[in-house]
Assembly symmetry: C2
Homo-oligomer: 314 residues x 2
């Protein structure tokens, strides 16, 4: 069978035909007309699917279903996107609309962090595992949780907002307005703040010089650390400790087989996996009696959105 995965982003919408082994047969992209009426955005998606199938000589009857991953708050069971910060969805019954527009019966939708976690669990870093937790470290901290092979979404899909757990009473303010959340320590945004603070305190460090030259990025702090800069090393150490605390909290609740790191920082590979693995193995509850929990970086990268969305209907 063939499945379609739709990855909705603020800039582009990607569609791909995905096979049962998780490989992408073909894909196609359109710009997101984000401020357009929501029904018209869904119409664009239907047209994108039509184009993709036609260009590749695939019949609609070969498609077993369409999965959609969207940023924002999604009510999975009802097939509704409740709202999305950057795209004009508001209680949009996207599953029903897309079904009407395409004639394909099996259409499902979930939050993009959930789709990524499902994709990684079936075909990526968590392949073979039944229980995984994925932290996507980006503007915020997204969590995707798979329990016994199924996405955990909570009552009316309102759960899995796992960036918003308090890890430090009275700590820095989170994007949501509350204090001391994991997101305020472990997101890519938080890392940028931590780098900025270090640069201000140590204007003569290699880190400060490189940031002045290349601008702020996760890459610059890892590069400077590699070159022996102590200031960069301390920033990385502290940041990874925060990420580690988040991982251990989730490990103690879910005891998954694999903890997966997603987001741009996952490109650092072993630079982050090794210290995080050590941190988790040392700090997880009952480590002496229980199987080791593997820490891994996401492997599906740019295709994660398409593959993960397709997994919703597999």
């Amino acid at each position: 069978m063939k499945y379609i995965g739709i990855d909705i982003g603020g800039m582009t919408i990607k569609a791909g035909v995905v096979l049962e082994d998780g490989t992408i047969l073909c894909k196609k992209t359109v710009e997101t007309d984000a401020n357009q009426e929501d029904v018209k955005i869904v119409k664009d998606i239907a047209n994108l699917i039509d184009g993709l199938l036609k260009e590749n000589g695939i019949e609609k009857c070969e498609i077993a279903g369409v999965g959609i991953g969207s940023p924002g708050s999604v009510y999975d069971e009802k097939g509704i996107i409740r709202y999305s910060c950057n795209i004009n969805f508001k209680n949009t019954p996207i599953a029903k609309l897309l079904k009407d527009f395409t004639g394909i019966d099996n259409v499902k939708v979930s939050n993009d962090a959930n789709c990524a976690a499902l994709g990684e669990t079936l075909f990526g870093a968590g392949k073979g595992a039944k229980n995984t937790v994925m932290l996507t470290l980006g503007t915020g901290v997204g969590t995707g949780i798979v329990v016994d092979g199924k996405l955990l979404t909570g009552n009316r899909s309102a759960g899995a907002e796992g960036g918003h757990i308090t890890i430090n009473l009275g700590g820095p303010t989170c994007g949501c307005g509350k204090k001391g959340h994991l997101e305020a320590y472990a997101s890519a945004t938080a890392l940028m703040n931590q780098i900025e603070d270090a640069v201000k305190k140590h204007p003569d460090s290699l880190l400060a010089k490189q940031v002045a030259k290349e601008g702020l990025s996760g890459k610059v702090v890892f590069d400077c650390k590699e070159q022996g800069d102590k200031v960069a090393e301390n920033v990385v150490k502290r940041y990874l400790k925060y990420v580690g605390i988040g991982l251990v909290n989730y490990a103690n609740i879910f005891y998954p087989e694999v903890l997966i790191i997603g987001g741009g920082i996952s490109n650092q590979g072993d630079n982050i996996v090794k210290p995080l693995q050590r941190y988790v193995s040392r700090n997880v509850y009952g480590a002496e009696y229980n199987p080791k929990i593997k820490v891994a970086c996401a492997t599906l990268k740019n295709d994660a959105g398409i593959v993960g969305a397709a997994c919703l209907v597999m």
Copy 2:
């Protein structure tokens, strides 16, 4: 059908015959011979069941299964108690042993906090809900998590150790040796420490006087608060904030219909439910878009162990 629930404690083992509506038909108790060889402890349980059935004229063939709740680390799927702090279980295949001793085929075992959560979800404070999280505030903080009507136990039942999530970086040392865990703030033990600290700082307070008279307890601090003692009021306020932080963390991950408080402190009823409900409703992520999460105290009380264990085989 009839089910047997076994509630293993450090002092006594209770057995009860439970009906499908969660009511207990009859029960019987023996002292726990905690340092005895583990096989003999299981033999005691088999004898307890025999006695219970005979005394009440119930035939074994009327029993659809036996559920066991035990403190400690339990490997549910394998029916094994890995270890228990106060009872001499060590990789004890209790389900198989009890099946051999009683001839009853369907025997299951889980951690006692899990059983309590399952019992409360089916017949107590969470009745009618499919998703609940129960925090049992005792010596430690136990968590029992029900997702879609099923217990969440993690890979090899090593999860749901939810007292051991960091809520305050570098905070006080937890029973497990790590710092800043929820358990170190929200357990009954932690409340006792918080009362002791307050008494030392305010030796002239009503709280200090009452503690000197009655000794340390949760009840004394709530009673003093009731009588207008500011010191007691502050202790209660701060403690409930810690419990609230734990509840909100779990709410943001699971978005359950009901958050349940168990342990001795749940006898305080509305004294704790009202402020905790306010705290959760104010602080849960996306409260403005999502259904309200109810906070409730456990209702099964002393029978929770028996009923909850029986739920394992219902």
